[in-house]
Symmetry: C2
Subunit: 118 residues, 2 copies
């Protein structure tokens, strides 16, 4: 039976968080939001498609930058209210040109862990 995105648990804005993780390395790249239709688009196209809360529009990751996320696997958690997309990331995932958005450590002194990609 094909998966039905309406069986997921969305918040009051109709959104569910989606964590993107790099295939192979396991690096956590970013977290963004999806609605039921962007989940369906992601599964159908194989291109990870978020819902931009600021633009209130679909956000096919990398559509303008070329830094696409090809879907390898989409997993749902036990509560069905969070997604994990395993992806093949083209170039940096972060708009700051870093591989991951999580480049800052806040343990002890605040430190930048990762330089922008060349």
């Amino acid at each position: 039976m094909p998966f039905d995105p309406s069986t997921l648990v969305y918040d009051s804005n109709g959104l569910i968080p989606c964590i993107a993780q790099a295939e192979g390395t396991g690096e956590v790249l970013m977290m963004a939001w999806m609605n039921a239709e962007s989940v369906a688009k992601t599964l159908k196209s194989g291109k990870v498609t978020y819902w931009s809360r600021s633009r209130q529009a679909f956000w096919v990751k990398g559509e303008t930058s070329g830094h696409t996320q090809e879907l390898v696997d989409l997993r749902v958690d036990c509560d069905r209210d969070c997604l994990l997309a395993v992806v093949r990331q083209e170039g940096p995932a972060c708009h700051t040109n870093r591989r991951s958005c999580f480049y800052t450590s806040v343990v002890g002194e605040e430190t930048e862990l990762m330089a922008p990609m060349a």
Copy 2:
């Protein structure tokens, strides 16, 4: 300068999502929520402490089950509205007794990927 949790971006409920990732393997274990005080408690105690939305109470992960998360690193994303906790997970992270909450794949046919731990 020590990190100030009030500099993070919280949602309208005063919460920020926190992804827990296993040190070493890089496995994504779970996602739960923190408020500013649980961020501070996590940093101070080194025990990952969420905010339970259902119980409206602090949730020191593993306090009753013994399945604790020892904080290795806490990272903040570029928008400062999502956290990544790198942890030493004791036992399963999921309340279903699986290592990770993300044990179900929804690509193609719905499949359970991971059996509960013995």
